[in-house]
Symmetry: C2
Amino acid sequence: GDMEEGVTSESSSLAGHQRLGNLVVLYDDNHISIEGNTDVAFSEDVAARYAAYGWHVQDVADSEDVNALRKAFKAAQAETDRPSFIRMRSIIGFPAPHLQNTGKAHGSALGVEEVAATKEVMGLDPKASFSIPDEVVARAREVVDRGRAAHETWETRYQAWRKGNPAGAELLDRLRQKRLPDGWEKHLPTYDADPKGLATRAASGAVLSALADVLPELWGGSADLAGSNNTSMKGALSFEADTADDRGPYGRTLHFGIREHAMGAALNGIALHGGTRPYGGTFLVFSDYMRGAVRLAALMKLPVIYVWTHDSIGLGGDGPTHQPVEHLAALRAIPGLDVVRPADANETVIAWRTTLEQREGPVAMALSRQNVPTIDRTKFAGAEGTAKGAYVLAEASSGMPKVILIATGSEVSLALAARETLEAEGTHTRVVSMPCREWFLAQDQSYQQTVLPPAVKARVSVEAAVSLGWRDFIGDSGETISLEHFGASAPYEIIYEQFGITPERIVAAAHSSLSKVGATHGSTTGN
Amino acid sequence: GDMEEGVTSESSSLAGHQRLGNLVVLYDDNHISIEGNTDVAFSEDVAARYAAYGWHVQDVADSEDVNALRKAFKAAQAETDRPSFIRMRSIIGFPAPHLQNTGKAHGSALGVEEVAATKEVMGLDPKASFSIPDEVVARAREVVDRGRAAHETWETRYQAWRKGNPAGAELLDRLRQKRLPDGWEKHLPTYDADPKGLATRAASGAVLSALADVLPELWGGSADLAGSNNTSMKGALSFEADTADDRGPYGRTLHFGIREHAMGAALNGIALHGGTRPYGGTFLVFSDYMRGAVRLAALMKLPVIYVWTHDSIGLGGDGPTHQPVEHLAALRAIPGLDVVRPADANETVIAWRTTLEQREGPVAMALSRQNVPTIDRTKFAGAEGTAKGAYVLAEASSGMPKVILIATGSEVSLALAARETLEAEGTHTRVVSMPCREWFLAQDQSYQQTVLPPAVKARVSVEAAVSLGWRDFIGDSGETISLEHFGASAPYEIIYEQFGITPERIVAAAHSSLSKVGATHGSTTGN
């Protein structure tokens, strides 16, 4: 069964390419899956497929032949330049007399009677439970002594290494404690106000390059979109089987190939191993392909980082197949996944800082392909508020907003433009930038209410994506500027205009929300 | 690049198994993807892999060798019992003098200068645009005559077939017009009230078997979970390369293997071909693996049906990896996908009926593993309202609800139980069953307001999943009974109890919502 899933194919092809000599896969080829005999859907030559991936392939004809298995494992261990694949023909449920070799043995327990019958076949007492022959117990307990001796040998070598390599030992201690080095954040870039601005993917790339020397634990790559995702640190070597520098095998840029699901799975594996901090990039729309792995990262609370660029219709000409519309909502639905969509270069920097400071749980960055203005932080609030998930970017001129515009990512600058118009007409307008809903909801209620005062019920959300979930923040009187359908292929300025993601429509939505609030007031005063 | 994606592996393995002799894949092996030379991530022997899948494999060493290609295509066409794979070594951008064989030729246009330079290399006038030699035009136009002659030959045979097979012709006409046969819906089962009830997956299976003879166009299968998804029609043959009955090759039960993404892609292909109505099943949680294909079905408005069972923590023991929590919200986020979660056997029947009557767009059924009570339709409203997406299942005893409980699927019976308690204490309570949000939002506003009167602001949503999106229906005063975290492994009754998806908590939520509504009233009267 496992051999049929695409993620296995992706991972195995990559493992062959990377010549992962330490990897041994035992393929339990029992010809049974839930629908019964696998020959209803599966007739390929799996061993030949693994040979095609560049693996060392062996065949064990009978899983009960322990000597043949032992020999195969020894040969696999000796093979250091290729991963090893051992195809072992087995019988599922062997030697249960009635249920072996059936789909039932895959999905259900054998049951009391069949267990007893099986014990009889094996020459064991069918009535005895949890009974293990003394000889087996004694043999198994030798493992304790063997392990203790191996550990002592290792410990001696380890302590000697620590003595001879104090810098390395210090680094290892820091990584084990998941501590960042003192003052690391001073290396982060900052950006001056710039109406032309910068794509947030470019700011993200600048962060990675700035941290390359400061955080040796940070590494990652892309599913064949490094140039588009800006995931390569300047000057970093590729992680390839034959890449080395004077320290030995080394490389920090991973090339996953066009294998998003394997990338997600590999990031999980790297995070589970510990010691380093991995990231992986692709287009936001392709997060769909790796969703299974993202879910597992969230379930296991792994500190994996996704760099998902081209985060909206703003990517332009590639059209609806490449334009994420539902993905922000669909990702926010995953418990424990933080989805961050920074508004400009400085929010991107703080988003990375906050992410790296989190020791637990995956973070997904949704970054723009197109340039977005670098917001004037002398005029508006600093980007520091990004760490709290949402903050008052632009206060109403009166200090008492009549309406609040809540925007994320590339739409924040549109909200700022709408605020100009609204303020000019005398409608006191606050703009809240909300790069990360999850971080905001983790703040205490008093902070949340400072940003979104319950008394201000006229609200507009602005995000070039489906509005699902926004009602929680805008309330019954709120309006959404959103996109409830798929995108289209055109330069992004035209798409935004045609689909009504514009300052003019934000202004109109603000008026509409204000009139709803007014109507409510009206009705309660008895008109 | 395409050869690296898991879905290609899944599909190709399945195509080999199915011996799809009509399929010819031309592999444009140009060694270039977006990150440049594919050797950074890809070093497998692709042709050997396809041979392992059971394909007929050929090699064309030079894509400019037209005669070799022609010969390979002829051999591929002659091969009727295996799909054919032609690996063709090519140079991307050939013969552009500066950009051939680079990653740039993959992602960007050549530009005016390089186009001119390429024309020069090819012996064409670099200044002429849209200029085609007369000889080429004349040759290309022969296609028109060839096509007309081929069409005439085909049309004569087709008309002869219609005359000789009036029943077949009538069936073909019906399928082309996407019409269902008169009276087909009379074959659908109905279910009497039953407190023990039936799993909605079982009711779905009964629908399929009931329709097997009535709708010959309906067919499908599962990604190795047929027994769990109840996707096999009683007595239907498997669709396998060598399956036939007296009419020739035939089979209606597809065995996709554990290849969810390929299943989704194959369903799209079958729907695009037209003439039949395909469905495919797996566990709801594994919809993640096929999300890319589901999105494309929605984008292309294909009438594909997903049978996704084990739709909540109610699946019990398999635990959080198998328990969908975020999936309903994540799927509702996809524009154009209808997500239907019926409450009992009779809603399941109407859900299928409504789905089959829709000619356009994918529908996803979310079905329970566990039994759910078959609601007493003599006491409560009939299941017919399912077709409208939401309906008043149980009216408040007074006819004037103080609070509305909105529930879906297996949680509807919990809402009915909560209503008993609330009514007993004098709180007039309406229960709305909302199996399909998209169908409900397609109704006119007056129907929507009949079901959810704007004046009744005390509302509770009940769904064993994340609450994302529910605020749109419950409003500012509403409460949600939901699950904002991953599940757990235990018998489902215990999980529901532990996670607070119970009638008692629904009652408490109703009180809370009522008090919020009261508080609002209070404040507006000046207290």
